[in-house]
Every structure is written in structure tokens, then in C-alpha cells.
């Protein structure tokens, strides 16, 4: 991502018609804004080209393909319905942001995609979740989770060396114990893709918890990437980080979306605007609106979305 102020030019919708977005731009003068960046095929549903400021990072269009899908997914905690009949598509090659006010069910939805929500004893799920045309209930849960990785709000490296953290998911997979030499190329590759290699290449054996918060979070990304997931779920990954670390993580997310489908839950609308290609707005368990980022931010179809991205929900 280029570090320069992005101004809307050459777009279908003139800036004057997108007051919420302008608000966002005005609020963050020192931060590069990347809205939309939607490089997928034209979206017939909206009858026009997706809003686009900038093609893929290197100018190349990114191939978009469905990886995961939910069908009429509902999740209840006891009596309380947290997610109500959501249909959602998760595509590789793009970043999907789940936005919405606190308690709207976005984290629950995210955690259901790798069946982590099942760890909550009271949680009940109906509807289907499909990964590559197979129902996730048919998977062994450990297998599903190595294909659908996750990053948490707090950086949480394990109390072991940097190397062992990244190699953690690779070990004990089969009956044979892999040697360090066999794991090393995968670990190095994962660290490189997470953008951490240059900083830690000389001290792979240092304890991971001695790293800074932002480095720890990137280590957690590398840890997830090492098991080569197809989908990566990010649950407010920057909420515990400083602005500079946040910027680096966002850059990493944008770079990664060409190889892995990314779903990010965020409270930060500007962050969603910066990284997302597609946005789903949730409110009180309902998925109110789902569409290309530029459209959801610039020209929301639903009144509730308009209020939220315009700050109406507070």
C-alpha cells in the first residue's frame, strides 16, 4: 500500500454524493485511505462496476473465487439469538470486513466459521456453513481449523521461541516428528509473508513474548499462515495495537488477500475502508447489507447502514 493520501478520482460516484465517506477521509488526514480496492468481476446485482479507486496492489486484478459460504446461519446463546439467518460468501482474493456496533453478532459469526463458537457451552447453531462445497460439520474439527485460521484481538504468541511458535501448528500432525530442518523453510516463508522475517531472522530462538505487541501480532499471522489455511479470520486484530503497528498489519492483510480469503471483524470503519474489498454490515444479529466496500460506504442501500457509516449509531 502506497503511503500517500488517496483522493477519489476517476470514479463513478462523485465525492459530493458520499458524505459518510468524506467524513472518514477528513477525520484521518495523516493516514493513507484506500477505499474499495475492489478488483473482482463487475457485480451484476448493483448494475454497475464496483466502486474502485485502485486496482490490485501491483495494478493487477485479483482473481476472486468463493471459498466459504453460510446458508441461513443462526447462532443462539441460550435464549438469545446472536446471529439471525445470515447468508454470507467469503471469497479468496479479497478482504471481507464485518462491521457493526458492539454486540451485533459479528464476532460470533466469525467464530462460527472455524467452529470455535462450539467451545461456548450454551451456543447453538442452525443453518449450514460450507467450505469448498463441503459442509463444515462433516470435517474433523481440527482439520477444519487448520484450513480456516484465526487471529485474535490480543496478540497471543505461545511462551516459546519465535521459531517454535510458527512451527507449532506443523508439529504433531502425523506420527513422525518433523525435524527442525524440514520445518525451517515453511517457518521462514510464513514469517516472510507476515512481514516479520527481516526483524526476527537473526533471533528465531528468542522468546516470542519478548517481541513488541505489533510484532507479536504479526508472529500470530505467521503462525496461522504456516499451516497454509485457505481462509483467515481476524477478530479486531489491531484493537490492542498502536497506530504504526496497525498500519503495518493492515498492509500485511492487504498483501495476503491474494493468497488467502480474509474475513476481518472491526469496529473501526476507517480500517474497514482501508483494507476491505467487500463489507457486511450487521446490526442486532441481522446482516443488513453486504456488498463491495465502495458501495456500502459510498452508497449504502439500507437506511441503517447509512446511519452507521455516517456515524448515526454513535
Amino acid at each position: 500500500m502506497e503511503l500517500k493520501e488517496e483522493t477519489p478520482q476517476d470514479v463513478n460516484t462523485p465525492p459530493a454524493e458520499v458524505p459518510p465517506l468524506r467524513r472518514i477521509v477528513v477525520e484521518s488526514e495523516t493516514v493513507p485511505i484506500r477505499v474499495g480496492d475492489y478488483a473482482g468481476p463487475p457485480d451484476p446485482e448493483y448494475g454497475r462496476e464496483p466502486w474502485q479507486l485502485q486496482a490490485g496492489l501491483d495494478g493487477e486484478p485479483v482473481w476472486v473465487e468463493e471459498r466459504m459460504r453460510t446458508e441461513d446461519l443462526s447462532i443462539a446463546y441460550g435464549e438469545k439469538l446472536a446471529v439471525k439467518g445470515v447468508d454470507l460468501e467469503v471469497n479468496s482474493g479479497e478482504v471481507l470486513a464485518l462491521i457493526g456496533p458492539s454486540g451485533c453478532g459479528k464476532t460470533t459469526l466469525l467464530r462460527s466459521l472455524n467452529r470455535l463458537v462450539e467451545l461456548t457451552p450454551a451456543a447453538k447453531r442452525t443453518g449450514r456453513i460450507i467450505l469448498d462445497d463441503q459442509d463444515v460439520d462433516g470435517f474433523d474439527v481440527t482439520q477444519l481449523r487448520s484450513r480456516v485460521g484465526m487471529l485474535f484481538q490480543q496478540p497471543n504468541p505461545f511462551p516459546m521461541s519465535i521459531f517454535d511458535n510458527v512451527a507449532y501448528g506443523l508439529r504433531e500432525r502425523g506420527s513422525k516428528k518433523p525435524r527442525r530442518k524440514q520445518l525451517e523453510p515453511i517457518v521462514v516463508d510464513a514469517l516472510e509473508r507476515a512481514g516479520l522475517w527481516d526483524e526476527v531472522s537473526s533471533n528465531l530462538n528468542h522468546p516470542a513474548l519478548a517481541l513488541s505487541g505489533g510484532q507479536q501480532q504479526r508472529l500470530c499471522i505467521a503462525r496461522s499462515l504456516a499451516v497454509s489455511p485457505e481462509v483467515l479470520l481476524l477478530d479486531e486484530p489491531c484493537s490492542a495495537l498502536d497506530p504504526i503497528s496497525t498500519g503495518i498489519i493492515e498492509e500485511t492483510i492487504v498483501e495476503l488477500r491474494t493468497e488467502v480469503a480474509i474475513v476481518i471483524v472491526t469496529h473501526n470503519l476507517q480500517q474497514a475502508a482501508r483494507v476491505a474489498d467487500r463489507v457486511a454490515f450487521m446490526y442486532l444479529g441481522d446482516m443488513v447489507e453486504y456488498g463491495p466496500a465502495g458501495q456500502v460506504f459510498g452508497d449504502p442501500r439500507e437506511e441503517r447502514t447509512r446511519e452507521y457509516v455516517g456515524g448515526g449509531f454513535g
Binding site: 496478540p155 497471543n156 505461545f158 516459546m160 501448528g169 508439529r171 504433531e172 489491531c238 476507517q270
Partner: protein
């Protein structure tokens, strides 16, 4: 990224003086406690006095024992076995009790750590059915609350059963002696167990839930999460509990007197594991037996041994502080 400009939230107002309060208000320059009632002043003074008294008590324990210890302790006491002699110059030192203390501590903690960690892991990570978990918790509390002399007598009862002969030795008539390093060590394990369980549970509970979830999210099951992430994270907690437990084992007398046999010298049985099945003594029983209240009357040696024991226990406590500070993983 949003740069939030927050105006300082209006905090609670500092308490304003109540104009109807009849008590004299402290004036600037007056002492801080001037408005206090007599009972408050007495209470504060008593709290100060108690704190200082404790310091004095602790200092005098260490001070007196060090004074007596340095006075009577000779290097050869640490290297020679106790001998039965009325002449104190020929009654030897306390090498056997010293080794006995170490041996008993090792046996006790070697049993207590795996059992205690296992119980703690089950309670924090599984703990189902809830009724069973509560039962286990009460069980731990019962064991923790039982006086060690009761544990000792109970141990004797158990280990004198005929089939328990392998832990001590069977006399020719078929009666089992029931007293040995193994039997005393297993009762000592019960003394250390609640401490190991307690601090392991505390360590496991302090690991945030998202750390466990991060491991599950990488496709790991519960067993390997416990083994590869949780137990290594709880290492310093386990070590703290184990060290506290070792301190308790070192200092316990009742179990040694009842279950380790009355021999001052370490007396191994024949056959494999003879040493562990044999009897002996520890520093605590040595101090007891040499003090005027015990059988012997060699207070100098009792003082010297007590000083060594105190040093061992203080070192263990010091180690607890060090372990607690280091190696503890810190998540946000």
C-alpha cells in the same frame, strides 16, 4: 486509524468538607491524623506495633538460630553420621538426617508434582461433571486441613496392611513394619499436594482464554494444547507450588517420627530399593531427639541442625520469590 481526542472525563469530585461536621478540621500545617478519634489513633498505633513486632520476631528467629548455629556448627557435623554415645564428643554429626531430609523431600515432591499437576489440569480444563469437580476440590481441602500427625497415623494404618509389605519390610511373623522412606514420602506427598494443586490451578487460570483458542484455531486438540501450551505456560506456577511443598516437607516432624522409624542412622533394607524401603531420620527428627524435650540431651547439636534446617527452608522460600518473578509469560 482514528485519533480520538477525548476531553478529560469529569471524575468524581474530591470529598468536600462537611460544614455540619462537629469534629475539628485539620488546619494547614497541622498533623495528618489530628482530626482522628482516640480509638482510631489506638488502632493505627496497634497496627504499626504488630507489624514491627512481626519483624522483630522474624529477625530474632533468624538471629538467634544463626548465633547458636554458628557457635555450635562444625563442618564435621555435616560429614559424619550420628553415633549412639552418651559422650557428646563421640556422638557424631548429622550427615544421615541431612541426607534423609533431602531424600524424603525428593520422594514426596516426586509423587506430589505429577499427581498435583494432573488434578489441577483436570479441575481447570475439564472439571466435568461439576459435582465431581466440587468433590475433588473438597477432597483437596480435607487433605490440606488434616494435621500431619493424623496423616502420619493414617499412613501407618495403611502401610501396615499385609499387602503393603513391599513399601517397608515384613517381619518373620508376617507383620508389616510400615515405616520407611517410601511410606513417609508418600504421606509427605499429601502435605505438598494441596500447594502444588493450588499454584498450578492459579497459573492455569491466569492464562487467557484466547491463548487456548489460538491453539485450537491452529487445529490442535485439547490434549496437545495442554501439553504444548498450557503446561509450559504454567511452569513457573508449578515450580512455585513444588518449592513451597518442599519447604513444608522439610519442616514436617510428625510424619518423620511416626513413619520413618526411630533409627538415627539411615538403615537400608536388603534387596532392590533397599534404601527407600529402609528407615532413617531427618533434620527435624534429629533436632527433636537431641533437644531436651526429646530422648537425647544435646542442645548444641540440636541448635546446629536447626540452623541448617532453617537455612534450607529459607533458601526454598527465597527461590519461590525468584521463580515467581521470572519465567512467567505475560499476555496483555
Amino acid at each position: 486509524m482514528s485519533i480520538e481526542v477525548r476531553t478529560a472525563a469529569p471524575g468524581p469530585r474530591p470529598p468536600q468538607p462537611d460544614p455540619t461536621d462537629p469534629r475539628p478540621r485539620p488546619q494547614p500545617g497541622q498533623a495528618r491524623h489530628s482530626g482522628w478519634s482516640i480509638s482510631d489513633r489506638v488502632g493505627l498505633a496497634a497496627a504499626w506495633a504488630c507489624g514491627i513486632a512481626l519483624c522483630v520476631a522474624a529477625a530474632s528467629i533468624v538471629g538467634f538460630m544463626a548465633w547458636k548455629g554458628v557457635q555450635y556448627l562444625q563442618l564435621e557435623m555435616l560429614t559424619s553420621s550420628p553415633e549412639a554415645s552418651m559422650d557428646q564428643s563421640k556422638s557424631g554429626g548429622f550427615l544421615d538426617p541431612l541426607v534423609g531430609t533431602l531424600l524424603l523431600t525428593v520422594i514426596g515432591i516426586a509423587i506430589a508434582i505429577p499427581v498435583g499437576v494432573g488434578i489441577a489440569v483436570w479441575l481447570t480444563e475439564y472439571g466435568r461433571p461439576a459435582g465431581l469437580a466440587r468433590l475433588v476440590e473438597s477432597g483437596v481441602e480435607v487433605v490440606a486441613g488434616t494435621p500431619s500427625i493424623v496423616l502420619a497415623i493414617f499412613g501407618l494404618l495403611v502401610f501396615q496392611q499385609t499387602f503393603m509389605g513391599i513399601f517397608s519390610f515384613t517381619a518373620e511373623g508376617g507383620s508389616v513394619f510400615g515405616r520407611s522412606f517410601l511410606t513417609a514420602g508418600s504421606m509427605m506427598a499429601l502435605i505438598a499436594l494441596p500447594l502444588v494443586i493450588g499454584s498450578t490451578r492459579e497459573a492455569l487460570n491466569s492464562i487467557p482464554r484466547h491463548v487456548r483458542e489460538a491453539s485450537y484455531a491452529l487445529g490442535k486438540d485439547k490434549a496437545s494444547t495442554i501439553r504444548r501450551v498450557l503446561l509450559p505456560s504454567a511452569r513457573s506456577g508449578i515450580a512455585t507450588g513444588a518449592t513451597l511443598g518442599m519447604g513444608r516437607i522439610c519442616g514436617d516432624t510428625a510424619i518423620v517420627v511416626v513413619l520413618l522409624g526411630a533409627s538415627m542412622q539411615t538403615t537400608p533394607e536388603s534387596g532392590p530399593l533397599g534404601l527407600l524401603r529402609g528407615t532413617g531420620s531427618t533434620l527435624t527428627s534429629y533436632v527433636y531427639n537431641n533437644s531436651p524435650s526429646g530422648e537425647g540431651n544435646a542442645p548444641e547439636k540440636a541448635y546446629a541442625a536447626a540452623f541448617v534446617l532453617l537455612m534450607i527452608v529459607l533458601l526454598l522460600n527465597f527461590a519461590v520469590g525468584l521463580i515467581g518473578k521470572r519465567n512467567k509469560p505475560q499476555w496483555n
